[in-house]
């Protein structure tokens, strides 16, 4: 660029930024190292799952597979053994979805409504409910497990699909309700007043005005719930019952089986299959997730 034809602001002062500075090199080096650090386990898992046991026994974990071999994936999906059952992780995959979908929908629907009630309607005692929610969001959930087991077994929900769905819904409510409450509180109160004058009822205002505005919040809530419920282990192992064991529990049973040869390629493949859902959620919604957080998810 010559002085005769300035394409930038001619009054700009200070040195022209050089395209490659030492700081920038250091920054990129740090980012690359960090990325490799987190990617390495994934890479190892992926290549190991494609190897044959014969190659794995030779010992080099970073060596690329001799040939693309999906046998371990097929076995992990359909016929890997957990104790006496040799049905692979597919049963757990289906179970996890059966738990995930209703729990996600139910918890988000209830949380959005709770947040709406706590922000716009301020019913008598809503501050108390809000305080309880706050506390609920921060108590470690292990504390609740034993009492809940007793309560659930008394009412016959222990070890059933509705039982585990209810558990996930209940545990999701405090944080999600806070999320929605904070979002709704940030909206102008005049919108709510205008809708009331317009003749909309409590449900109509929620359904037609507030919920459409809360779309970014719903996306954030879906991400939180899908990853959280899918990755859950302890609630599943305690409350779901043998017939509804989620995938994480089944994966553990396969990987930690004490009998027979440890099939590392099958274990890696089973783990990869289990991780696919949260991975997909993050990849597909990363942009939304950031936007949702920026829109008030973490605002006090």
């Amino acid at each position: 660029m010559t002085a005769a034809t300035p394409r930038h602001n001619p009054n700009a002062n200070g040195p022209k930024p050089t395209s490659v500075s030492l700081g920038r090199v250091g920054l990129y080096a740090f980012i690359i190292v960090t990325a490799l650090f987190f990617l390495m386990p994934l890479i190892v898992m992926l290549i190991t799952s494609l190897k044959t046991m014969e190659q794995i026994r030779q010992g080099s974990i970073f060596e690329l597979p001799w040939s693309l071999n999906f046998d371990a994936w097929v076995k992990a999906w359909g016929s890997a053994c957990t104790g006496l059952n040799c049905t692979g992780v597919k049963v757990g995959f289906v179970n996890s979805f059966k738990i995930l979908i209703p729990s996600t929908i139910l918890s988000i629907a209830l949380a959005a409504w709770t947040g709406y009630m706590l922000s716009f309607w301020r019913a008598r005692g809503s501050t108390v409910i809000f305080a309880i929610l706050l506390v609920g969001a921060f108590i470690p959930f292990q504390v609740f497990i034993y009492p809940l087991v007793r309560v659930f077994s008394t009412v016959g929900l222990f070890g059933t699909l509705p039982g585990i769905i209810l558990i996930h819904t209940a545990f999701g409510l405090p944080v999600l309700s806070l999320l929605f409450r904070n979002f709704f509180t940030s909206l102008p109160i005049d919108l709510f007043k205008a809708a009331r004058v317009d003749g909309a009822g409590i449900w109509q205002i929620f359904r037609h005005i507030m919920l459409p505005m809360a779309t970014p919040m719903v996306v954030v809530a879906v991400i939180l719930q899908v990853t959280g419920i899918w990755n859950d282990f302890i609630l599943g192992v305690v409350f779901a019952g043998p017939a509804n064991m989620p995938m994480t529990v089944q994966l553990n049973n396969i990987v930690n089986a004490t009998q027979g040869v440890k099939e590392y390629n099958v274990n890696m493949a089973a783990t990869m299959i289990t991780a696919i859902v949260p991975l997909a959620v993050y990849f597909l919604s990363g942009r939304w997730f950031v936007r949702g957080i920026a829109a008030g998810a973490v605002k006090g």
């Binding site: 005049d190 919108l191 007043k193 205008a194 009331r196 317009d198 003749g199 909309a200 037609h208 459409p212």
Partner: protein
């Protein structure tokens, strides 16, 4: 079109009383402006009439109905907000028809009403746009339309023009005035802008600290303020006040601190005067007469401190004793800082207030 009445209304936020035992009687088809500084309770009162604010005591009547406990939608009121409050995820058409759709009105009827409102407000070109694609003035038109389609008896405006720039504000003000003339509906309009209040209102209710100070026609509020607060609040620059004492109640003779005595000939008293009573004489900046004094005028000696040119006229700030007065003069040449200035006022145009109570005398 309906009579609106507030009977003995009190509102409290926790321990703080915002409105106390307020009475307001609005006739059918009247345009009423609630005027006051922020925090005076004017918006709260409007919310009470709309049904958005619960009242602690008293009653609200619209037409022949006691609506104190009625839902906003059952009161026959439409409301326009300062922030427009358009539903952001809906088009203009959906915004206009929202209330009607919620009340399950037949589609044909909804369309007819939207069409009529659109014609009145000339927003036909905007129907399929979202609020974010509209300018401030267009948004406020749509907001007015939302009240219009519902065919309400009472329009409530909560500082509708405060977010607009000066030019648009004037335009929309005229449109609102015209809308009132065309529809003949009762309108209640909250503002802190005096020009809006003076130009729009049939009657102005000046409010301070939750109490209505004066409820009268704009001209009366301006010319015969009921108390010191109204006198000081309405008018820009503010009314000038000179302290004095009553020397003789019958002949309206007063004595000023500098020892002068003169009668306020032609002043119409609102209450009997006591000898020795401390008073304030209020004179509007444009009511000073400079130069030849008309008969009965009272002269005041002043010293110019600042000259402000505003274009068509000039504003002189001058000292009288230890107070500063403002004088509006049409001809702005020949005035200088430090110059002595003799001004006169006609008692008939002045207002006299009791110093202690602030009431008009």
């Amino acid at each position: 079109m309906a009579v609106v009445q507030a009977k003995n209304v009190s509102v409290a936020f926790g321990a703080v009383t915002v409105i106390e035992a307020l009475n307001l009687d609005i006739a059918e088809g009247e345009f009423i402006v609630l005027l006051g500084a922020s925090g005076c309770g004017k918006s709260t009162l409007l919310n009470c009439i709309a049904g958005l604010q619960e009242i602690a005591e008293g009653e609200i009547w619209i037409g022949a109905d006691n609506v104190t406990w009625a839902e906003p939608k059952d009161r026959g009121v439409g409301m326009v907000f300062q922030s427009y409050a358009l539903y952001p995820r809906m088009t203009v058409r959906e915004n206009l028809s929202f209330g009607l759709r919620m009340s399950k009105m037949p589609k044909a009827e909804i369309e007819a009403r939207v069409k009529r409102a659109v014609e009145i407000l000339q927003i036909g070109a905007l129907l399929d746009r979202r609020p974010s694609e509209l300018s401030g003035g267009q948004r406020q038109r749509v907001a007015i339309g939302r009240a219009l389609v519902r065919d309400v008896d009472v329009f409530l405006f909560d500082e509708p023009l405060s977010n607009l720039d000066a030019k648009l504000r004037t335009e929309l003000r005229v449109e609102i005035k015209k809308l009132h003339q065309d529809l003949g509906s009762t309108m209640i309009y909250v503002t802190h802008d005096q020009i809006e209040a003076m130009t729009l209102a049939d009657r102005i209710a000046v409010m301070n600290k939750g109490v209505i100070q004066q409820f009268a026609a704009p001209k009366d509020v301006y010319m015969r303020p009921a108390n010191r607060f109204v006198a000081g609040f309405v008018g820009s620059p503010s009314m000038n006040f000179l302290k004095a004492k009553v020397a003789d109640g019958a002949s309206l003779e007063v004595a000023t601190p500098d020892g002068r005595r003169f009668p306020l000939q032609g002043y119409a008293t609102a209450a009997p005067w006591r000898v020795g009573q401390e008073i304030e004489i209020g004179i509007r900046p444009e009511h000073w007469v400079v130069g030849t004094a008309p008969s009965g005028a009272v002269p005041v000696e002043a010293t110019i401190t600042v000259v402000e040119h505003t274009g068509p006229e000039a504003l002189l700030w001058a000292r009288v004793g230890d107070t500063t007065i403002s004088v509006k003069v049409a001809d702005d040449s020949g005035y200088e800082e430090g110059q002595a200035l003799r001004v006169h006022f006609l008692p008939a145009q002045a207002s006299v207030f009791d110093l202690a109570t602030g009431e008009r005398l």
